[in-house]
Symmetry: C2
Subunit: 564 residues, 2 copies
Amino acid sequence: MGAVPSDLEIAQAATLRPTSDIGAVLDLGVDDLEPYGRHAAKVELEAVGARRPAGKYVVVTAVTPTPLGEGKTTTAVGLVQGLGRLGKRATAVLRQPSLGPVFGIKGGAAGAGWSQIVPMETMNLHLTGDFHAVTAAHNLLAAMLDNHLQHGNALGIAAHSITWGRVLDMNDRALRNIIVGLGGRLDGVPRQARFDITAASEVMTILALSTSLTDLRQRLGRIVVGYTGEGAPVTAEDLKAAGAMAVLLKDAVRPNLLQTLEGQPALIHCGPFGNIATGNSSIVADHVGLSRSDIVVTEAGFGADLGYERFVNVKCRTSGFVPDAAVVVVTVRALKVHSGRFKVVAGKPLPPELLEENPDDVAAGLSNLAHHLDIVAGTGVPAVVAINAFPDDHASEHAVIARFAHQRGVPCAVSTHVADGGAGATALARTVLEATEAGTHLRYTYELDVPLTDKIEALATKVYGAASVDYAPAAASELKRLTDLGFGGLPVLIAKTHLSTTATPADRGAPKGWTLPIREVRLAAGAGYVYVLSGQMQTMPGLGSHPAAERMDLAEDGRIVGLF
Amino acid sequence: MGAVPSDLEIAQAATLRPTSDIGAVLDLGVDDLEPYGRHAAKVELEAVGARRPAGKYVVVTAVTPTPLGEGKTTTAVGLVQGLGRLGKRATAVLRQPSLGPVFGIKGGAAGAGWSQIVPMETMNLHLTGDFHAVTAAHNLLAAMLDNHLQHGNALGIAAHSITWGRVLDMNDRALRNIIVGLGGRLDGVPRQARFDITAASEVMTILALSTSLTDLRQRLGRIVVGYTGEGAPVTAEDLKAAGAMAVLLKDAVRPNLLQTLEGQPALIHCGPFGNIATGNSSIVADHVGLSRSDIVVTEAGFGADLGYERFVNVKCRTSGFVPDAAVVVVTVRALKVHSGRFKVVAGKPLPPELLEENPDDVAAGLSNLAHHLDIVAGTGVPAVVAINAFPDDHASEHAVIARFAHQRGVPCAVSTHVADGGAGATALARTVLEATEAGTHLRYTYELDVPLTDKIEALATKVYGAASVDYAPAAASELKRLTDLGFGGLPVLIAKTHLSTTATPADRGAPKGWTLPIREVRLAAGAGYVYVLSGQMQTMPGLGSHPAAERMDLAEDGRIVGLF
């Protein structure tokens, strides 16, 4: 593999197909597509419900990632391109990147090298404004809530019980803990408050899980913003805010059509946070792809313990769509890190000794891959191991992974899509196609009609490898309270670190026999789940000492530079 | 005049022309227009500079408005439609409405009745996302500023001297005065801060005043966010934020093409606040209209004492474009209120006695019209009085206004464009066309090379009718400090109430001989002006006890309802 030019250079040099051509691949005509800029369009909702989902459904997950990420997005794009080389009508369904990470540490998030979504500037910046619409809808509810307090608080909301914050699509740590409403009598009611990043907004997850405009409207109405002095939930409907929120989200509910570097359809839609939310793209986008192409490749956030688990237990349970295969992305460097012998820090170069040929280091980290394959196996979905190849990898290291997969009976392929585009992913594509023929017997990790604590314990033991769960007293009583309020039938998300399979970020491999602490319990009644926190979850990231924004600019000719 | 259906009903029933047809009126081809949705497009910057501005240039201003507004937007739209009936290629250039007022008290702001911009939902909601881009660019700078404090404050910024706040496009009074950076060591540096509404962002005015992408980039770099301990200004360039801000604003700098209800081009672009900012649409949009149609009709915010004064002294001085006529919109109800005999409250019905036929009440308020005509005359621009007719007006009341204008030698026309569309505005259109033949000898209120205090005094005496200016000690020393720092050559904006010609909102008519208080001085170095506050200026509005948002919703068929 030779040197790869920068992602932005590759993307800017690409010749794009007209959006109408991309739409035609999905049998979407002029009436089905509303153009947003020259190379993006929104798919009309009328086109979503028109056909039955009949295509193959492939989800891309990964081992526990290093802070650098293991290339799930680029593997998903590469796989779609590889399937294209095999003559398949394949569609990528991906999340929209958040501006926070783009301007923070990460730069662009549209794939890498020769496996990217284009226009990458469109994807990484405002796209068609969906995130901004989520921000506006979320903050309208917050403003109406504080306004309700200001104008006499007829609903009797207890200020200390308010759970609804505000959001911005920005990494801005100074907004994590704030006091609002200072000043005079006309300047609001003083209280402690917070901003989260927009990807953490419940509205974002609602958008991703809604199956129709009507469903969206109803979910918005069910959002619980806090409680009365008597402990009764107060909803967005009670505040008469849900209708206006739906008005703001009317366009955002439609998926955005872009393309891969090799001209396949890419539906980019929603971007719920991977820790406290579902970490998956939208049901509506999947529906479009499944009903109008041979195969959909979608990506679930973080490792299989997080995004994939929620893909199955929340997203698929809501949509009714059954995945035909799960691709587990693994990299040599991730397994070396899981050996416990190396430390990788985001924004810093890799340690040079990690790049040296050493199959033993890879083998020492295989327990992590095994764990994620166990998670997938537990759901009854056929797995494929995809080795996302890097220029510094060594064949002996790939061989360790391939041998291990073979021993487990899991098909495995090396993919060089970053350096070679779709041509580098045909082996993976063939392997995936074969796997989708095996047949899925989808098993949820828990049933909905068991107690919330049973759901937590099922996730802890079956998905994370914990031996037991330890509830903080406040968490235990909140679980009971939510059950008493009628929310016991909701699925549960466990917000835990994505940097290990356990609740301890520094853990490597896949430790067993530990105890999962549950410190806090929160409700997302509109999105439709209860989420519990197993540690400090950062819902508003910060910027580093040299944010990616510092290197971005416009060139003389107006072209964007420095957006990697 | 019969009953008029709701604005939204009229707008939704309209048959729109294809955007390409509207573009063709401006001789803009497929390559010059980037579609954003079915009935909006962005005009490429290449098309802006390609031709010389040669069309007639008409600005719409008004008497001192009541809190309900006197219909400048709808008169501007009606006038364009009336000009169309006379066979002229006319273009409307208007500001984008802010979401805050749309969801607050005002509802839609795309005109009224049969003189509206369509699609009105597009105009009133996200449009093409320009306001959101301003929000993002503004808040990126804020995040990078607080991040700079967090990471050691190498520039030595004095936290108490920070002038750069954050913005949201929302009426949210609880964010006026906040404390940020609470929590632990990694959660920012605690300090007092604020959110303004996005329309109040300096970035919005920069966008409106920029003449090119290069000019935009340079203005962003010149933004002063605060001062070092030694009092040296710290800029967005110093924080390495200006390039990334320009990246976020790359698309927002292009004007948006919509249409009037009668199918003329309407360029909707930017929306700087009318009190602390320029209150005018963009120079780039005016340039497109002036270089590609017979006549441009643009609107300046509030009365002639505010938006019009800034139109001349800031916008025209920057662009070099010379207006050929100024339309002063007047309503019977506004002059009745200026009699001092009635009180009008936003969001409440008009007092019934105000609607009774009473020419004497109208005559008693003429001093206000006279004052605004004096302001226009002072700038050397031919004036036209436009009586924006309401169904409850009486002919005898219109006659009072017409007689008065005649006595002053100012042409006057009654316009029924709200009820009758362009057909109701042909008399006004003829009168305006005639006025544009008179010839302008544009006079600025002050020259740039005089001291800041001289500029303030020129505005106070020549535009507001004050006898003197009284500087608070802090304001006087800040004016001196800014002069010492080299900002003395900038134009000055005086932020004062729009509800009277004086600095006292309750004043009616046009009192003379009073003293203008100057309490505070602020710098907008990127936008390129100093602004001084003559009273409490609200830069973050609040919501009323029943915000307009409460009545908005989606109907069964997905159509928006309740957006008046």
